[in-house]
């Protein structure tokens, strides 16, 4: 018999869709979900369980699905964890089960279930320990797991959408729709979010009359009204998290402009109405995980929405009224239905009993399922009274669990309702309303009125229903022991695992969760949490309300990382900054590297010794170097000097106009933060030239102290770094080359000495020229408007200067002992460790870090100090090599090498380092070790070339 019925359902029988599951082709219709299509084709086994590799079938019809998780490929789209119960079927989908070795129907690892008693919860803490867990881990992990990532599937997602609304309603069941209707009575911006493609929630499969119409017609009318009134409706969208100040994160699917089909929304709402309904709570009985055992509401949903009859011989097992509709509907559709109600006849609504009996349902009061018989599918059911009933479907309902996740994200405290057998909202949370079944309401009229009032509507305006549904759930007794009764299907956790945890004293709810992994699967325990608490309460003889719950955290359903990233990938996530003259450098054959977030030439050309040639040119001729990324932060105003005096360790107020000074900035802890050169253009105008990677930090530091200590009208900070290109010409021939630029500046050394600054002109535009050197040779740093940098560079090249990259500069500056802060300094380095002790002893005024320089730590004798290191032979000691002291009988690191190069000019290796006591160690030999190799070095002053600086004026 074909499970698909000839009539009915909201599917479009004119549109046939083909799909493949585990290599077999099937057909479905437009409007099917993957799950309904599989059921319609009689596919019962859709996967294997996480630990025991037991066959599993479709369990639910919603996001609470623990079993039907499939690997989905469709065009460019790949989802390794698609939920078959929510995913609409599309033509050409290629689906695979995700945990079987082979197919779900024929799993080569099915034998694992025979060893179940050796692998209960937490077995890995007790077994597979000798000789080493790691020996077993890989094999065990390969037997578990849900799905496989494909490195080739890298579809990006669309940019995030941000929305700000007055009222956001999550869920479009009867309560959500009533709230949305009432919300549109005023001028408010309203948004409605619905997980499925269609609005209506439970009204799509449960019969009701509202305002005189059948459910479907009412939903249709209301949907139209909402559209007419301008409500923004997001379909196929799941609200996955609720965050501070009423922000919802929503994952929208079926987005055609997004490569992975999804888009993340951030919605800030003045008020959020949580109308997320309730999830059916399972009954517990032995072998309740067999294919063919599903939630009663799901069976009804497949029948009414998708015209799929999930079974011909049905046992409906329940303790409440809502499952009666399932029994009736299946019976009217032609199935043989037995209804086992745990309540005695006296507690069952006589009208309901009469209705089901009248239709031909075999109603069995005070009956409960003991066990399911059948291995690959349900074959029969054994009741607790011994009776055996042949069946191919068990549709069970133990009550309803309000979906309180969003309410809990907002730090709402749920409270246990022992009458309903579930948690309902407890504490009030400002800005959040919970309505409908999510609030633990069952009566449709009460729900509609409450939902209307929740957005400020008048109860009299609420839609009316005559439908009486008494959702009475009898408190569930915990099942007896000794059999395999599943509580958490996804993580394969049974009642005996809970009992094991209690025996081992992991009986606090947080311990139970982590010890058994119950509720820790991707379904977040939607069908297991409350049952776990029930069993725990019974086994520890406590009341459930005393147990507490574990914390619900976003996301409500799993979210793809690509969707979270949105458009922030690659250059949009970490944009790299570029030099104004980058194209010129590319034409010159520059090899680029990322230095502190700026793309800069490391060297030019492809020669193996390009760096060496650039060093030679710098010392013997002239080089041109692009220094445009160096900071140019203007500090302007009558209080500019005072601000710089406070922020800098090196005083700047004494700097003459037209002069430059090298200085250090410290943290308040006295640690060297940055170095750079400050230029004084006028008494009220300074330019701070800090290192390229510290510009943002330096601007923030200057602004922080400016706003804290100064009259804002007396000093301003302006970051002009990007407005200027700075081209440096360095070397013995530099002066002759610069003279040829006709900058309108007198280059006589008396007029422009080393560390002098002058205004200049480049063509018709302003320029600035400073004699600042990082190479140790005579140097000119010329700043021109950024767009003219390439032209200035070209002028230097035309005059015969060779291009020089950063790597060569690194060698040249090290020959002079000029430091890179952050490379030759670390998190403990203070200015006197670098030999700059003047301000520490002389300055009386306040500056950042001042008090930290006179603590006991700052004054101790064996602080690490900057030294030069020479070695015999031609092999440089590697950067990071540790200096070793072996005197106390065991080895101790007393410092390390911070920079190390082959010096072309000097003909031998040179290095800088931070070593305890510095040169007080004498120039005796020091042992170094690095990754198992040993080196010998000699400590010398940290300057290997021209310590008097004669070359600066050569």
């Amino acid at each position: 018999m074909n499970p698909r019925m000839a009539q009915g359902g909201a599917i479009d029988r004119t549109k046939r869709l083909s799909f493949v599951f585990d290599g077999v082709s099937y057909e479905g219709f437009a409007g099917d979900t993957i799950a309904s299509a599989l059921l319609a084709n009689g596919v019962r086994i859709i996967g294997r369980s996480f630990k025991y590799h037991r066959p599993r079938g479709i369990y639910s019809a919603g996001p609470e699905e623990p079993n039907a998780i499939l690997d989905l490929r469709h065009g460019a789209r790949h989802d390794p964890n698609a939920r078959a119960t929510l995913e609409p079927l599309a033509d050409g989908m290629d689906l695979r089960s995700i945990h079987a070795n082979g197919t779900a129907a024929r799993d080569r690892l099915a034998f694992v279930d025979r060893f179940a008693r050796f692998i209960p919860s937490a077995f890995y803490y007790k077994t597979f320990m000798w000789p080493n867990w790691a020996a077993y881990e890989h094999r065990i992990r390969s037997l578990a797991g849900l799905g496989r990532l494909d490195p080739a599937s890298r579809a990006a997602s669309a940019a995030h959408c941000h929305a700000e609304v007055d009222i956001c309603i999550v869920g479009s069941g009867p309560s959500g729709l009533a709230a949305a209707l009432a919300a549109t009575q005023s001028d408010k911006r309203v948004m409605l979010i619905e997980e499925r493609p269609e609005l209506g929630g439970s009204l799509l499969h449960r019969a009701a009359t509202i305002d005189g119409s059948q459910s479907a017609a009412w939903v249709s009318r209301v949907s139209q009204a909402l559209q007419d009134r301008g409500v923004q409706v997001l379909r196929r969208s799941t609200a996955v998290g609720l965050y501070d100040h009423n922000v919802l994160t929503v994952i929208q699917k079926d987005v055609p402009t997004s490569a992975n089909g999804e888009r993340l929304w951030l919605v800030r709402a003045g008020r959020i109405v949580v109308a997320t309904g309730a999830i059916e709570r399972p009954l517990l009985f032995a072998n309740n995980d067999r294919p063919g055992v599903m939630l009663a509401d799901a069976a009804l949903s497949y029948l009414r929405r998708y015209a799929v009859k999930p079974g011909k011989r049905v046992v409906v097992a329940t303790g409440n009224d809502s499952a009666y509709e399932t029994a009736l509907a299946l019976c009217n559709a032609g199935s043989v239905v037995h209804l086992a109600d745990t309540r005695p006849e006296s507690e069952i609504d006589p009208a309901l009993a009469a209705a089901v009996r009248g239709a031909g349902v075999d109603l069995l009061p005070a009956a409960r399922i003991d066990t399911v018989i059948g291995r690959r599918s349900v074959e029969a059911v054994a009741l607790d009274n011994g009776r055996r009933i042949a069946a191919d479907l068990v549709a069970h309902s133990g009550g309803w669990t309000p979906s309180l996740h969003l309410y809990c994200h907002a730090k709402g405290k749920p409270q246990w309702d022992s009458v309903a057998g579930g948690y309902r909202p407890g504490s009030k949370v400002a800005g959040i309303e919970t309505v409908g079944a999510a609030a633990g309401l069952w009566d449709l009229d009460a729900m509609l009125q409450h939902a209307t009032a929740s957005v400020g509507g008048q109860p009299g305006e609420a839609p009316r229903s005559g439908t009486k549904v008494r959702q009475w759930t009898a408190p569930l007794a915990a099942p007896g022991s000794g059999k395999r009764i599943w509580v958490d299907l996804q993580n394969d956790v049974t009642v005996s695992d809970i009992e094991l945890a209690v025996r081992e004293n992991f009986s606090a709810v947080e311990h139970l969760k982590r010890y058994t992994t119950i509720g820790m699967g991707t379904d977040q325990g939607k069908t297991s949490n409350v049952n776990a608490l029930t069993v725990l309460a019974a086994r520890t003889s406590q009341e459930i309300s005393k147990l507490g719950t574990t914390t619900f955290r976003p996301p409500y359903v799993p979210v793809s990382m690509a969707t979270i990233a949105g458009a922030e990938r690659g250059q949009l996530q970490w944009p790299i900054r570029r030099l104004p003259a980058e194209n010129t450098h590319r034409q010159e054959g520059a090899y680029f590297r990322d230095y502190g977030g700026v793309l800069r030439p490391a060297w030019y050309g492809v020669e193996a010794d390009a760096i060496a040639h650039e060093c030679v040119a710098a010392r013997n001729d002239a080089v041109v170097f692009d220094a445009s990324s160096l900071g140019k932060i203007e500090v302007i105003g009558p209080a500019a000097a005072a601000l710089l005096d406070f922020v800098y360790y090196t005083p700047m107020s004494s700097l003459g106009v037209g002069r430059a000074r090298y200085g250090l900035t410290l943290s308040e802890g006295g640690i060297v933060a940055d170095d750079g050169v400050v230029l004084r253009l006028a008494s009220n105008h300074f330019v701070v030239s800090c290192s390229s990677s510290h510009v943002a930090g330096m601007v923030a530091q200057l602004e922080a102290w400016r706003q804290d200590r100064f009259d804002l009208g007396q000093v301003f900070i302006h970051d002009a770094t990007a407005h200027w290109a700075t081209i440096a010409i360095s070397g013995p021939r530099s002066k002759r080359i610069v003279a040829g630029f006709e900058l309108g500046v007198d280059l006589d050394d008396a007029r422009l000495p080393h560390m002098g600054v002058a205004q200049a002109a480049f063509g018709s535009r302003s320029a600035r020229i400073a004699r600042v050197s990082f190479t140790g040779e005579r140097s000119y740093e010329i700043s021109v408007p950024a767009t003219l940098g390439a032209r200035l560079w070209q002028s230097a090249r035309d005059a015969g200067a060779s291009p020089m990259g950063i790597e060569a500069l690194g060698v040249l500056r090290a020959e002079k002992g000029y430091i890179y802060v952050g490379q030759d300094t670390d998190g403990e380095t203070m200015p006197h460790d670098l030999g700059m002790a003047g301000p520490r002893s002389k300055r009386q005024d306040s500056y950042v870090g001042d008090r930290s320089l006179i603590t006991p730590t700052a004054s101790k004798a064996n602080r690490k100090r900057l030294v030069g290191i020479l070695t015999d032979g031609s092999t440089p000691i590697p950067t990071g090599a540790h200096a070793i002291d072996s005197n106390a009988g065991r080895k101790r690191s007393i410092g390390y090498v911070t920079s190390s190069y082959r010096s072309v000019h000097l003909g031998h290796p040179i290095a800088l380092g931070l070593i305890e006591g510095g040169l007080h160690l004498g120039s005796t030999s020091v042992d170094f070790e690095h990754l198992g190799q040993s080196f010998k070095g000699r400590l010398v002053p940290p300057c290997f070339l021209d310590p008097k600086g004669v070359r600066l004026n050569a």
């Binding site: 501070d244 100040h245 800030r268 730090k411 308040e668 923030a700 706003q707 804290d708 008090r851 930290s852």
Partner: protein
């Protein structure tokens, strides 16, 4: 994603701001003893509950300001310029 009221620009999303520590921290004079200076460097009230914090509207006007915020509930009581 909290929302803070910049005293000059109005309500903006948290992502536009940078946290700058407890408000009311006074920088001691150079004459302070080691303990007082260490407290200034490392000790903060770290209030659990209502707190006065410094924030910077770094992606906006760049101004520092005081924010009265409950560190437990994230309720924002108000903001004002630094004294």
């Amino acid at each position: 994603m909290q929302q803070f009221p910049c005293p000059w620009c109005g309500k903006r999303a948290e992502i536009e701001f940078r946290y700058a520590g407890d408000a009311g921290v006074k920088r001691p004079e150079r004459s302070a003893d080691d303990t007082a200076w260490a407290h200034y460097l490392h000790f903060r009230k770290n209030a659990k509950g209502p707190a006065k914090e410094l924030w910077i509207h770094s992606a906006g006007c760049g101004r520092w300001f005081l924010l009265s915020r409950d560190t437990l509930t994230h309720e924002v009581a108000g903001s004002e310029p630094m004294a």
